[in-house]
């Protein structure tokens, strides 16, 4: 896998909208790195100047006082550069969050709704909220640190060589030993990290199973099965992580020792002592060398911290890019209008993914305007998929779908949405008043229209019974409405929208068995004078529809009216119907003790 490459590209690519901020923050941060090295060198000379004398710098002669003022200026500059690189990189990070969130939400509105349903609200929310937030560590903290981590050691090295090249060589020698050892520490770390990550994901799996299955575990398991799997996952994790730690333990400690400031200081002190003795080194350069020599080793520690941040951020960047990579629904520029509401499927093939099998094969049927068509078949036969293709939750892989003779791809998505209403895909109520929730379907609707719709949806009386009536706030943070009440409110919304085509999934319609009668009445009102496609489960409800289309394994197997289909010997519908009747008439056959 070449994930590594993708990762790198991912993180740097995703920050391009705020490149300006990042570049400035990095430049200023690098400057602050140079300033502190310069400050240290100057400091050494300032001490030398206390007893008098002067140094020459760019043609200026500096005494103690002047040098001290210069030092103060450098300290102030060092503070300012640190502060501004911090501020700029953070502002960039905040701005990036805003840009990404706006971009992603805009993009979400343009991709097929099917993707949103498949991904799930939770996963998308996590990307929008957490993953965008996780970029922060990289953009705000890591980029300036990175610049400094590269520039500061270089500046230290240059300074050291300028002060005394021999001491420079000593410091570099120590650093090289450290670097070689570091390499040794990292030797098998890729493999170990993979093992570790794998055993960590096994723990995740075991925990999820353990939690989700807890009610079953309590009834059926004496602890041997599921708890054992959890414990096994823990044991494996322990072994893997310990092996990893064990394999690097010694070299990590040696590296830690070498890279700490002490070895460099000792080496510079001892060699410096020799050069002092033979008179080839003076006081101020020696002190300066002691001050800057550890600058190189010091920079390595933050680098190790950084790698953690980068890893977390790049995983987030990839998830964001995965969503942004989902292709948007393609709309032709035709902007055609829909004038009639008959629906035609022509040689439609469909698969959810390149790799998947066909979910639908060669589907052909016609639905006449203002008729009711029922889609039936065993679960997984393709009936819900067909329904989802009509409002373009997904696009067909091959063939075409036409409404009123117009290919739905040639229609603006708003027009299509106005034409097709997919009831119960949108039972969601916004955190707003009931009135606004219903009226949003049709901005031109009057209060009277809305009340009419609510009456038709059998929810008017209930709404009036609420203390605030139509001004009651619904949604997460509002009044608790039961499933059935929410459903009827969304039916009212659909009635007010008055789209000429209604697609309806009966299973979700009756998901909440409460107040079935009212829901049925509401639906009957919604379907009046509409072209209706219903995914049917209770076969008794579709006995009299104009057309029944029977699906099996992604293909249309039978078409016709109830009686016609029953007449087919050994037909699928006939079998479904007989099963249905049996299931309806079941009462639990209990052989028990006498009362």
């Amino acid at each position: 896998m070449n994930t590594k490459n993708t990762k790198k590209r991912g993180l740097w690519a995703i920050i391009t909208p705020v490149n300006n901020y990042i570049r400035w923050a990095m430049v200023i941060s690098a400057l602050s790195g140079i300033l502190s090295v310069v400050g240290f060198v100057l400091l050494a000379y300032v001490i030398g100047l206390i007893m008098g004398g002067s140094i020459h710098l760019f043609g200026f002669e500096l005494g103690f006082k002047e040098a001290l003022i210069l030092l103060a200026l450098i300290t102030i500059l060092s503070f300012l550069t640190k502060f501004y690189s911090f501020v700029i990189s953070h502002l960039g990070a905040f701005k990036l969050e805003q840009i990404l969130r706006t971009d992603i939400t805009t993009h979400l509105a343009q991709i097929p709704l099917g993707h949103i349903i498949t991904l799930g609200t939770g996963a998308i929310k996590k990307v929008l909220l957490d993953d965008v937030k996780n970029l922060h560590a990289f953009v705000a903290d890591t980029t300036p640190m990175m610049a400094k981590a590269i520039v500061a050691p270089l500046a230290s090295m240059v300074a050291l060589f300028v002060i005394d090249y021999r001491l420079g060589l000593v410091a570099i020698a120590i650093l090289l030993v450290g670097a070689v050892l570091m390499k040794f520490v990292m030797k098998d770390s890729v493999m170990h990290r993979q093992n570790y990550e794998q055993s960590q994901s096994e723990i995740n799996k075991a925990v999820i199973e353990f939690v989700q299955a807890m009610p079953v575990v309590r009834t059926f398991d004496d602890g041997t099965t599921s708890f054992k799997r959890y414990n096994d996952a823990l044991a494996k994790y322990r072994t893997n992580l310990k092996t990893w730690f064990g394999s690097t333990s010694t070299s990590a400690r040696i590296a830690m020792t070498i890279l700490s400031p002490m070895p460099t200081l000792l080496a510079v002190t001892i060699t410096g002592l020799f050069f002092l003795m033979n008179g080839t080194l003076e006081f101020a350069p020696f002190i300066a060398a002691l001050l800057v020599s550890t600058g190189m080793a010091d920079a390595l520690m933050p680098l190790m911290w950084m790698s953690n941040f980068v890893k977390k951020s790049s995983a987030a960047a990839i998830r964001i890019q995965e969503i942004m990579d989902i292709p948007v629904l393609h709309n032709s520029k035709a902007h055609k209008k829909i004038k009639a509401t008959d629906i035609v499927f022509e040689n439609v093939d469909f698969k959810y993914n390149e790799k998947d099998n066909y979910a639908l094969k060669n589907i052909n049927f016609e639905v006449k305007a203002n008729t009711v068509t029922a889609l039936v078949g065993p679960s997984g036969a393709g009936k819900s998929t067909v329904a989802k293709l009509i409002p373009r939750f997904w696009d067909v892989t091959k063939g075409s779908i036409k409404i009123g003779g117009v290919n739905i791809k040639d229609v603006d998505s708003q027009v299509l949405m106005d034409t097709v209403s997919f009831v119960f895909q949108d039972t969601f109520l916004f955190n707003d008043t009931l009135a606004n929730n219903i009226k949003m379907a049709n901005p031109t609707a009057t209060d009277e229209d809305m009340i009419e719709a609510c009456k038709a949806a059998q929810i008017h009386d209930f709404i009036l019974s609420l203390p605030n009536g139509y001004e009651t706030i619904a949604g997460d943070r509002g009044t608790n409405l039961s499933g059935g009440q929410k459903q009827r409110i969304t039916i009212a919304r659909a009635i007010l929208r008055n789209a000429p085509i209604v697609v309806l999934d009966e299973a979700t319609a009756f998901a909440d068995p409460e107040n079935e009668e009212e829901i049925i009445k509401a639906l009957a009102n919604l379907m009046k004078n509409k072209t209706v496609i219903v995914i049917a489960h209770r076969l008794s409800t579709i006995k009299d529809v104009d057309q029944i289309i029977v699906f099996d394994q992604g293909e249309v197997k039978e078409k016709g009216k109830h009686q016609e289909l029953l007449a087919i010997q050994g037909g699928i519908y006939a079998k479904l119907w007989s099963n249905y009747e049996k299931a309806q008439n079941w009462d639990i056959h209990h052989i028990g003790g006498a009362l």
């Binding site: 640190k82 706006t102 929008l128 099965t225 708890f227």
Partner: protein, 592 residues
């Protein structure tokens, strides 16, 4: 201020020792080593004072130089050695044992936790506590401890050493360095404050995101998406504003700390210069002081990075602790076993946690041994709560539940559950072979017995058609099992368990018609000769029950056989006739 500092250090220490659990002594030992290491490091730095003085003396004495250099080397090696030993705790993997111990404890807590408590957690939430929170709080333990000690002990040692050299320089250091601590607490307080405002803004943003995603179909239809989704855009912008404000407030101390060492150096040189000119201080000593102080810059800046790690550890551990603190349900003595399987509710009242209203109120009934009792009523009326109480999902606030005359609180959870099989609406199958999924109900069952159970549950046939038969892994075939097939496997499991009490909670509600018939037959086998409690929405299913309990608002409002209740012309009759009416409804009929 001082007190606060101390308190926060102490909290960190206590937290760490608590985390280390039974490995606490190993952890404390590593703390001792670290302390020694940093004292030695401070002393090694301190050797610069005599060493530089000896080196730059007018008449350098070689033996002095070698002595001080030797001491510096000695203290350095001592520091390396102690640090090396200090890392025994984390680098040798003891720290992994700590995570292991914590996770085992968490797993046990989960098994014993009342199911009511468990249901208040989201799976994802528990998962992140078990996996990432444990790692977050434990794996950094050694590193954080060593950095914390370094930032405290090295400066103290240096200041003490400096006192012996020149007390005035030590005073300047003393004045400057402790500034780091107030700044540190300033930063923490600021970051806490702006975090709470930030968290609030994020909370609003989160629910706006959910609303946007779930409402997309509607929003698209009215073109309120992307930049037109005004409310969402406002929330996004608001989060940015809050962050910006927090930036200016919180970062000043942070950056100040970053240049604290530079400012200290400047002050020391400035003031020190006067002493040097006074001839009360050698400029060599001043140079040594500068070198020594400059060594504090790097640990301080790393420490600043660690502060947020500490916050992370703290909150991770709080979450772990809150789970460990949940007490399992109490088992009353004396322990009793049961011989008959009638179920009696005596005046049971129960309210869910944090709910103002009762889910059950003064519920009284007896389900006789080997009879079938149906519970009916509107959704949310308390039907499922009754079955949960039988399984001791939680304890009622009032009243008792008895099985075979024994209060279920006098049984261990294992002996209670041994007597009960449940068929849920949602089937859970483990990612394991089919045979293991069935056998888990009775680990001692032979292959033959498992097959017999599968046969009775009408799943033998489709199982044998699978590529590896009973040894097929559920995960390998995943979605290819239909809902009905999965449900029948779970019924086979229940049949194998052969518990005298069977609870059915809408077992066929989620199935399509085709699978429903097979599942129904399997259920008929399962309930033979059992005490059966069934919840069903379709009343015809339970018309044959020995007793029907009609529940409304947590109370039993009617009970009797189907015929009795129909004659009574009450609540049950109303439900029954409504179901009869809609039975004949079809989409073409006009009832609006």
């Amino acid at each position: 201020m001082k007190k606060n500092q101390f308190a926060s250090l102490l909290t960190i220490y206590k937290l760490s020792v608590e985390l280390a659990g039974e490995y606490g002594s190993g952890f404390k030992k590593s703390l001792v080593y670290f302390t020694l290491a940093f004292v030695a490091q401070g002393l090694a730095f301190g050797m610069f004072y005599p060493l530089l003085l000896a080196m730059f003396a007018d008449n350098p004495v070689i033996s002095d130089i070698i002595l001080y250099l030797g001491l510096m080397v000695f203290f350095s090696i001592l520091s390396f050695w102690a640090k090396w030993r200090g890392h025994d705790f984390d680098y040798d993997g003891k720290i992994v044992d700590v995570t292991h111990e914590l996770r085992t404890k968490l797993g046990t807590a989960l098994r014993e936790m009342p199911l009511e408590k468990l249901s208040t957690y989201k799976t994802g939430e528990l998962n992140s506590t078990f996996s990432s929170n444990v790692d977050e709080s434990v794996l950094h333990l050694g590193m954080v401890a060593s950095m914390f000690l370094q930032i405290v002990i090295v400066p103290i040692t240096i200041i003490v050493v400096t006192f012996f050299v020149d007390w005035r320089l030590a005073l300047i250091m003393l004045a400057m360095l402790p500034l780091a601590l107030p700044l540190y607490s300033w930063k923490r307080r600021e970051s806490h404050e702006d975090k709470s405002e930030y968290n609030q803004a994020n909370g609003v943003l989160e629910s706006d995101f959910v609303e946007y995603i779930q409402g997309l179909p509607v929003l698209k239809a009215v073109n309120k998406v992307g930049v037109n989704a005004q409310k969402l855009q406002d929330s996004i912008a608001y989060v940015k504003e809050v962050q910006k404000q927090g930036l200016y407030k919180g970062q000043v101390p942070f950056v100040l700390m970053g240049v604290l060492i530079e400012i200290t150096l400047l002050a020391i040189v400035f003031i020190g210069a006067f002493f040097v000119l006074d001839n009360t201080l050698s400029f060599i000593t001043l140079a040594a002081a500068v070198i020594v102080i400059s060594r504090l810059a790097e640990p301080l800046s790393i420490f600043l990075g660690v502060v947020s790690v500490f916050d992370l550890m703290d909150s991770a551990f709080k979450r772990i602790k809150s789970i460990l603190a949940i007490e399992p349900l109490k088992i009353h003595k004396p322990l009793k076993t049961i011989k008959t399987y009638d179920i009696a509710f005596d005046n049971v009242s129960f309210a869910y946690q944090n709910q103002p209203t009762h889910a059950l109120q003064n519920v009284n009934f007896i389900m006789a041994n080997k009879t079938m009792t149906a519970i009916v009523g509107h959704s949310g009326c308390g039907k499922t709560t009754i079955t949960k109480m039988i399984m001791r999902y939680a304890d009622p606030q009032n009243g008792t539940i008895k099985i075979g005359g024994v209060n279920i609180q006098n049984m261990t959870p294992e002996s209670l559950m041994k007597n009960i099989s449940v068929v849920f609406q949602d089937v859970y199958l483990f990612d394991d072979t089919i045979i293991n999924n069935i056998r888990m109900a009775n680990p001692n069952a032979t292959d033959k017995e498992v097959e017999d159970a599968a046969n009775s549950a009408y799943c033998h046939e489709f199982i044998t058609r699978l590529p590896n038969g009973y040894n097929t892994k559920i995960g390998d075939i995943g979605g290819s099992l239909s809902g009905g097939e999965r449900q029948r496997i779970s019924i086979a499991r229940a049949i194998l368990k052969n518990a005298p009490i069977v609870i059915l909670d809408e077992p066929t509600a989620a199935l399509d018609t085709e699978s429903e018939v097979a599942v129904q037959r399997a259920i008929d086998k399962l309930v033979e000769n059992k005490t059966v409690v069934v919840i069903a929405h379709r009343l015809s299913t339970i018309a044959g029950a020995d007793t029907i309990l009609v529940v409304d608002n947590g109370q039993i409002v009617e009970s009797g056989t189907h015929d009795e209740l129909v004659t009574k012309n009450g609540r049950y009759y109303g439900m029954w006739s409504a179901q009869q009416r809609i039975k004949d409804w079809n989409v073409k009929s006009d009832i609006g």
